[in-house]
Amino acid sequence: MTIQTPNGFSLDNAGRRIVVDPITRIEGHMRVEVNVDAQNVIRNAVSTGTMWRGLEVILKGRDPRDAWAFVERICGVCTGCHALASVRAVEDALDIRIPTNAFLIRQIMAKVLAWHDHVVHFYHLHALDWVNPVNALKADPRATSALQQSVSPDHPKSSPGYFRDVQNRLKKFVESGQLGIFKNGYWDNASYLLPPEADLMAVTHYLEALDFQKEIVKIHTILGGKNPHPNYMVGGVPCAINIDGDMAAGAPLNMERLNFIQQKIQDAFEFSKNVYLPDVLAIASYYKGWLYGGGLAASNLMDYGDYPTVQGDKSTDRLPGGAIIGGNWNEIHPVDPRDPQQVQEFVTHSWYEYGKGREDVGLHPWDGVTDPHYALGAGAKGTRTNIVEVDENAKYSWVKAPRWRGHACEVGPLARYILAYAKGVPYVKAQVDDALGRFNSLAGTALTPQQALPTTIGRTLARALEAHYCAQQLLDDYDALITNIRNGDLATANVSKWDPSTWPKEAKGVGIVAAPRGGLGHWIRIRDGRIENYQCVVPSTWNGGPRDARGNIGAFEASLLGTPMSNPEQPVEILRTLHSFDPCMACATHVMAPDGEELARVTVR
């Protein structure tokens, strides 16, 4: 049966149903079901978060100043984003302005996290959707060297001997038969298009990225006091500054440590420029005909905006927020996370209930409710404990469906980049135009931003560009921090409202962060010094949520429609597009995964 969704998609569930559960190489747990037609083109898609989400409820009654330490424990990936959103929400509720040093140090912490997350995502979680490591064993290292020098002449590691060493290491690792990271791929699938020399280049950089990513997080150890689990603090940052101090354990931030931070930022900038971005462009050029996966990105996009140069002044956001609706890049709607009519969550198709007669209402997060209600629809196949097929006409996911003024929107680096490009942010405009120029020249195409960006490849490219922009901003934030310190300002915390006796009886606030996966918001209500209600609306909820009361589909579901599969038994194309969102279902749903196999189980009916 074919149905038209209000947001412009056509769904047909007549063909064979393919169930992929779990989706691998993501945090958390999700399942997707699609229907393919006789030509194996996806015509219906159903995204299910398979774990209960309950972070909010365990915070009830706790001290708001401690909430960050709990939300930091949700999962192993974007811990710092949640901690930051949490302290910002509390500061917003209590009207606390943090010192300039704290503002800048938090900017640095957030962008180090974004840079690290993007690099790890591309090389560790996403590259294997495009790159075939087994094929890399067949490469001629001289051809890889030539390719490297053509796509990135500034990268020093490019000799044939270097690539031969890596290839030998890889061979030894594969031959030792270890339970490796490269196990369980679909390496004979026809959808892998890279020549062996490009596969070897990408695998080599995968190893370089691993060597490198551990260096950048040392900045978190210095500024956050410790790593893993850096410390955050309502009112500022928990590190003191004494520019002439020594390096004794626990000593304040001094010039030597600041110089170390500057060096790591510079290295990150070089890595983005010489390795990450050239890799994405080179790989994309071999997949120039694979322009699927756009979905909602071609029409509706949303972000709250972040990375201001002046604390509290949204007009200085280096990645400005807004909403684009209906693909009209000429009109950017302002987004206000406090307006009860704008951001709302629906649970018509989610395993929660808002109470009798309120099945189809949308609730603003300040008034959000997280009461679980697990029930299968009449059309579901299987049992409550072993679902064979969900019924998407009923409740089918543990993820809620957030909407902006009723519109399903895609969030993430691609949304931020299209918004910034459409707004004409000079740095972003130059980046996008340069990257597309290089892509078109490598691929022999003439794609416009409107054609190239709302695609799976565009999503992956936007992340690489954002990592590079973050590194540039880190250099600028570092300079601003040094200037502020040199001007004699050493304050790192505002403790004037630390004591709950200074707080109003009731307060509410919102904390917004440009998290690596998209706009993140924490909404808090405080009463009598304790948390009364807490709601997180996370990026993977926007992207991975189910249908809403009116039948609008979300970004994951929309992105899969129209994609042809080489072999429905091997869901390479599904994984490729879903991974391009960098889904993190751990906080969209929550953390526990079953004792499932690493290889996605695929069922075709």
Binding site: M51, G76, F173, Q178, G180, M592
Partner: protein, 216 residues
């Protein structure tokens, strides 16, 4: 004895790493064991204690080129609930991968593989684990029977450090800070468990399908 001399005795750094998600009842066992150890003993360099939480790749910088790695975790060994069990050497990554119960264990098996691929694997690896009673109690602390295994597991870590590395941490003279310097006091075991909202306010159940698979 200087840290360098001590490192010479053990052949390098030895890390005792507790992993797991403290928000999921017995899943927090590993973290609570290192918290317990840190509150009672002084671990001189080159031995370090770490609360690894659910962190995966963020742990890499701390895990390179270790003389020894001692992992403490809750693992589905297929043993009776609350049983302590030890695994050593090459069996560790296989055990963590094959018997994984929670998200972080997939990540951790990969972390070990990536150390190996890049030539930075620890020279010796041990795993001291407990068979959890339940992990379905969201927001909960350790169950009574698993909590009773914290002290024996801590003793097993001390025995292992003495036996394998010749290291004998001395008891601390006075009481340690809440969280023992490993974690922020708000999520230390006692305040975490005492501050829990009641069941009326906070649903504690997971997904029936998972519960069925876990036999909980």
């Amino acid at each position: 004895m200087t840290a360098e001399q001590a490192a010479g005795q053990t052949g390098g750094r030895v890390l005792v790493l507790g992993i797991g998600n403290i928000l999921w009842a017995d899943e927090g066992f590993g973290v609570r064991v290192v918290e317990y150890l840190a509150a009672r003993h002084d671990f001189p360099a080159p031995v370090e204690l770490m609360d690894g939480g659910t962190q995966g790749l963020y742990l890499l910088p701390h895990l390179e080129d270790l003389a020894g790695l001692v992992i403490v975790d809750a693992i589905d060994f297929g043993l009776p609930p609350a049983t302590l069990h030890q695994v050593h050497g090459a069996d560790v990554p296989a055990t963590i991968g094959a018997r994984k119960m929670s998200l972080h264990q997939t990540g951790f098996q990969e972390v070990l593989a990536l150390l190996d691929l890049r030539g930075h694997a620890p020279r010796r690896v041990s795993l001291i684990g407990v068979q959890p009673v339940t992990m379905q109690d969201y927001g909960g602390g350790l169950t009574e029977r698993v909590a009773a295994q914290v002290a024996p597991a801590a003793q097993a870590v001390l025995d292992l450090l003495a036996r394998e590395y010749g290291v004998r941490p001395l008891p601390l003279a006075g009481p340690a800070d809440m969280g023992a310097g490993l974690m922020t006091p708000a999520v230390a075991r006692a305040p975490y468990e005492a501050g829990r909202p009641d069941e009326q306010a906070a649903c504690r159940h997971g997904d029936e399908r998972l519960l069925a698979r876990l036999g909980a």
